[in-house]
């Protein structure tokens, strides 16, 4: 069997197979699919965006969008623009702040909700009543009761992550296997030990899932909040307002390719931050990594 397996590649060693061999060796199948799909989407976009020229009339949606080459050109120009990078920094900071605040408040609140049934009975209905209100609906109220615009944006972002964190922590604690706690008790563990060594690590995976969802929600909220509130203090045409404001401002200024650059930037930011969070979760809970 082993002999046959090693003999096979030699049997079809033509140049054409060599290319295939390289492709198989360096790019696995799922990555190849992703690359092909991405290229196809870009090609479709390019053709569709130019449809006005070759069809006589632009196609709906696609025909109104700046073509990839225009976006790429705009992107290349923006790479040297400090305002663009300041937008990145502003949004990143807000997301980081709101996300950390949501973690810092949401996790303890969820743990208390899960541990004390009396508190849960009192607090959970209020929580559930507030939860369906989208964070963005809080923007006007938030502007009224926070002293600075920056704080009101931060608050709205915090809300976006907070609900997700709390729900996941409570869910995770409820799903904990009672027998683990029974065993620990029968081995003489105190309440504090059970909390530290069982409940906390037991809830960690749910905290991780909550974090992954929350970081996504946080990006959604920051962009919308920046658009609505005008990007926080000191927002000008091309600085300080964050990526959401950057997009809105590009729209107002008619720089359509820049809109797409802004959108893609957010896509990249969300992707990277989710990946970082996922990595952090695996580091915190290494027992989840098993095959």
């Amino acid at each position: 069997m082993a002999e046959a397996a090693t003999a096979a590649p030699l049997g079809r060693a033509r140049p054409y197979d060599l290319a295939q061999w390289i492709a198989e060796r360096f790019v696995d199948r799922s990555k190849r699919r992703a690359i092909v799909a991405l290229a196809a989407a870009l090609a479709l976009w390019e053709i569709g965006a130019d449809s006005g020229a070759w069809l006589g009339a632009p196609l709906p949606v696609l025909g109104a969008v700046p073509a990839p080459h225009a976006v790429l050109a705009a992107f290349a120009k923006l790479l040297h623009d400090s305002g663009y990078w300041q937008s990145w920094a502003a949004s990143l900071l807000r997301v980081a702040f709101g996300f950390v605040a949501a973690l810092a408040v949401g996790v303890p609140f969820g743990l208390v909700l899960a541990s004390y049934s009396a508190f849960r009975g009192a607090a959970f209905p209020v929580f559930e009543l507030l939860r369906p209100i989208p964070p963005l609906a809080w923007v006007p109220a938030s502007i009224i009761f926070w002293p600075t615009q920056e704080l009101s944006i931060a608050f709205v972002i915090f809300l976006g992550g907070f609900y997700t964190m709390v729900l996941n922590v409570v869910g995770g604690a409820d799903a904990l296997d009672r027998r683990l706690i029974q065993s620990a008790r029968s081995m003489g563990a105190s309440r504090v030990t059970i909390f530290q060594r069982l409940i906390l690590p037991g809830v960690l995976p749910s905290i991780g899932v909550g974090m992954e969802i929350a970081i996504g929600v946080t990006w959604e909220v920051v962009v919308a909040a920046e658009m609505i509130s005008g990007g926080g203090s000191g927002a000008s045409a091309s600085s300080g307002g964050g990526l959401g404001f950057f997009i809105w401002n590009s729209y107002v200024g008619g720089a359509y390719p820049d809109i797409v650059v802004g959108m893609i930037s957010i896509g990249i930011a969300g992707y990277v931050s989710s990946a970082l969070v996922r990595r952090a979760v695996i580091r915190l809970a290494p027992w989840l990594k098993r095959k």
């Binding site: 029974q182 065993s183 690590p201």
Partner: protein, 280 residues
């Protein structure tokens, strides 16, 4: 004839007239009713009965996971639960090994085993780990210290879990169908490993199972329970001398006992089936 190997003089359980029901007033389900059973120190007592008959309720009562409504449970003359002691008590003198295992997924196997002595502050973390390492070596589990339980087969997990119980030097091991999910081959390996542990420690074993072969192979006695409410229906002395090896399964005496016990179990199983009881 019924050879009892070395025992430490601890772990005699006395269950007297225990009553336990579930549910709210008016719609009670009587799980255990006037159940009495004496288990001498160092006995392997196998409990067999139909699904949902209340065996696990009895085990939980011995473990102290819940109160009982009547009667008393004593361990070496000390009342665990009963008159004068309404609150169930949990103690490291009797440790449960559950059906699907309850190892802590986030601790490696060594720390799982070292857990008890550390939280009881009987040993330092270092001492406990050292002891756990020795136990693992004795049980042929060296090399798995740093693995998480999830990385082990369920058979190995169960062995780690039994070590986690044994490190506390309990008087009683309470096993609730610990090998149910295992295939026949792993099961027989587990049985021999358990007996070997037993011959070394002489710990009293209260073992719930559905598997008659397992019950006869391991037990000094096999107690067949009635279907709900749970109470000993008939107790069989297994007069096959310990130490036992797997060849007793093919012996004449084994087959006789199996036939006798299975007739009694079938009676109850049919009763339970017609009553429509579910697994519980």
């Amino acid at each position: 004839m019924n050879v009892r190997p070395i025992h430490n003089g601890r772990g005699a359980i006395d269950i007297a007239d225990v009553v336990k029901s579930y549910g709210s007033i008016g719609s009670d389900v009587l799980a255990v009713d006037r159940c009495s059973l004496s288990i001498p120190s160092g006995e392997i007592c196998m409990i067999v009965g139909p699904s949902g008959c209340g065996k696990t309720t009895l085990l939980n009562a011995i473990a102290g996971f819940h109160d009982i409504d009547g009667g008393a449970i004593t361990l070496d003359g000390r009342t665990l639960c009963g008159p004068g002691r309404p609150q169930a008590s949990i103690g490291s003198d009797r440790i449960v090994v559950f059906q699907n295992g309850a190892l802590f997924p986030w601790m490696n196997n060594l720390d799982n085993i070292a857990f008890g002595p550390v939280v009881q502050k009987r040993l330092t973390k270092k001492e406990a780990r050292e002891k756990a390492r020795l136990l693992m070596a004795d049980a042929g589990l060296s090399g798995y210290e740093d693995n998480y339980p999830g990385e082990l087969s369920s058979g190995l997990q169960r062995r780690v879990e039994i070590l986690r119980a044994l490190i506390n030097e309990p008087a009683v091991l309470l096993l609730d169908e610990p090998y149910r999910a295992l295939d026949a081959l792993s099961k027989s390996i587990m049985h021999e490993a358990l007996l070997e542990t037993y011959y070394r420690t002489g710990v009293t074993i209260f073992f719930i199972t559905h598997d008659l072969e397992e019950a006869i192979f391991l037990g000094h006695r096999v107690v067949v329970m009635t279907s709900r409410p749970c109470r000993p229906k008939k107790i069989f002395n297994i007069d096959i001398p310990h130490p036992r090896r797997y060849d007793v399964l093919t012996s004449q005496r084994f087959r006789e006992l199996a036939a006798e016990i299975s007739a009694t179990v079938d009676e109850e199983a049919i009763k339970a089936f017609t009553l429509g009881d579910r697994e519980g």
